[in-house]
């Protein structure tokens, strides 16, 4: 059921301790900073967070990690020049890391949304990121069995929503938004603009409203 809510606080209310939370964005592009700030304020802790990175600088996901609210990161690229909060927690053994090749991360999130029970991919075959995983040779290529990544909640950022919850994005800020929206039980979206149903061209919808639960406009 779709709800338009008035504040980011209302949008993230109900996220429980121990939840798996997907957070959109690649670096800062598409990162829903306001929703993350609201998640910080709402107090939920012991979170498993799925994001390509593990936070940059002193804002957004990085702060959530700094404050010890993240039990585990599932990501492809935690180490960056400004990922100091993650680095510190990781070196102190205070955060768990599941490192996933970026394409496997994307495909596993997509699989969750699409009802796929698991898939074989050549990516990672023969590497330490496939250790302990089932493998088989298909058409002469070694392949690794990867499983879907589901989430309780997705927090994403889009450009516009219409009255039916359909979304469009902006440039490379699109990144993980569409697949996370489909993979989470409950999807919360921050947008810059809300238009009436019919205000977006049906040919250009990127995320159909069926994947969206809460929408909040952020100035």
């Amino acid at each position: 059921m779709l709800n338009f809510v008035d504040s980011v606080g209302e949008a993230v209310a109900g996220i429980e301790d121990g939840s798996t939370v997907m957070i959109g964005g690649f670096g800062n592009a598409g990162q829903p900073f306001e929703l993350i700030d609201a998640l910080m304020d709402c107090g939920a802790t012991d979170l498993t967070v799925v994001n390509n990175n593990a936070g940059q600088g002193d804002q957004g996901l990085a702060l959530l990690i700094k404050e010890g609210r993240v039990k585990k990161m599932i990501c492809s690229f935690p180490r960056q020049s400004d990922s100091w909060h993650f680095d510190e927690k990781y070196k102190a053994g205070e955060i768990e890391l599941e490192l996933v090749p970026q394409g496997n991360l994307a495909e596993r999130i997509r699989a969750a949304g699409a009802g796929i029970g698991g898939f074989f991919t050549p990516t990672g075959y023969g590497t330490m990121l496939a250790e302990g995983k089932e493998t088989r040779i298909i058409d002469g290529r070694g392949q690794v069995f990867e499983t879907p990544i589901h989430a309780d909640v997705a927090l994403i950022k889009a450009l516009k929503a219409d009255g039916k919850g359909n979304l469009v994005y902006r440039k490379t800020a699109r990144n993980f938004g569409p697949i996370m929206a489909a993979a989470a039980k409950h999807t919360v979206v921050q947008v810059s603009e809300i238009v009436a149903a019919g205000g977006l061209d049906p040919e250009n919808i990127v995320t159909p409203g069926i994947y969206v639960n809460s929408i909040v406009k952020v100035a």
Partner: protein, 229 residues
């Protein structure tokens, strides 16, 4: 039968329901805001009885959400058809997508309800609706298995009895299966059945008592929860 429900309480109509009355009942049972796929044939009738205030969004598996009524006259556009290949219309807030994205909606468990026709439904909700199994039949499955397996709730609409008077609710399907344990409700001319792992219960009957219904159906029937569920 639960203590608070009598067979008489279950009878909500003094005669069997026609297809349109049944479609109206299904439409009324769909929760506001639901995303729904209506199968080809009898289930399509349901769309005639959905009310604007229900804010139901219809999905068609060939690549659209927000499908409107059948197109007439100048509205007819060969590029805008439903799963039955009938020209349809587009409502405000519609969206188009390719086939893999469309079936991801179905298979990923995002549709609240699909309504399908059936040859047979078993006591535990197995569905047979795609193939008679006749040796000379040309099989065709379309999206039936994806819908049966993927939707949160699978409603079936059918007559209770075949032309030969055999019950289509059966202990175990004799026709080839579409999906296992997937049907949650069966709307028929004589009764509404709830199916699941614990067997079949009857929500309401039309023109017959539970006892009379039991005589027609070869699986044990329980009186179901109060009407309205």
């Amino acid at each position: 039968m639960s203590p608070q429900t009598t067979s008489q309480d279950l009878q909500t109509s003094d005669k069997p329901l026609g297809r349109d009355d049944l479609a109206r009942m299904v439409a009324k049972d769909i929760a506001a805001g639901s995303f729904v796929n209506l199968g080809i044939g009898q289930p399509t009738l349901v769309s005639n009885y959905l009310l604007p205030e229900q804010n139901i969004t219809l999905h068609t598996e060939n690549g659209m959400l927000g499908m409107g009524p059948e197109a007439v006259g100048d509205e007819i556009d060969g590029d805008l058809i439903n799963a039955g290949k009938i020209p349809v219309t587009e409502l405000p807030g519609a969206s188009y997508f390719h086939h893999a994205d469309s079936f991801a909606i179905m298979r990923g468990g995002h549709l609240d309800i699909c309504v399908l026709g059936a040859f047979q439904v078993s006591a535990t909700g197995d569905l047979a609706n795609w193939h008679t199994g006749a040796p000379d039949a040309i099989p065709a499955v379309g999206g039936a298995m994806d819908l049966a397996t993927g939707a949160k709730d699978v409603f079936v609409m059918m007559t209770l009895l075949t032309r030969d008077g055999a019950s289509k609710i059966v202990e175990a399907c004799t026709y080839p299966l579409t999906g296992i344990g997937c049907v949650t409700r069966v709307y028929t001319d004589k009764a509404v059945f709830l199916t699941g792992p614990d067997g079949v219960s009857v929500r309401e009957t039309f023109g017959c008592t539970l006892e009379e219904l039991q005589d027609l159906v070869p699986v044990p029937l329980k009186a179901g929860p109060a009407v309205g569920l």
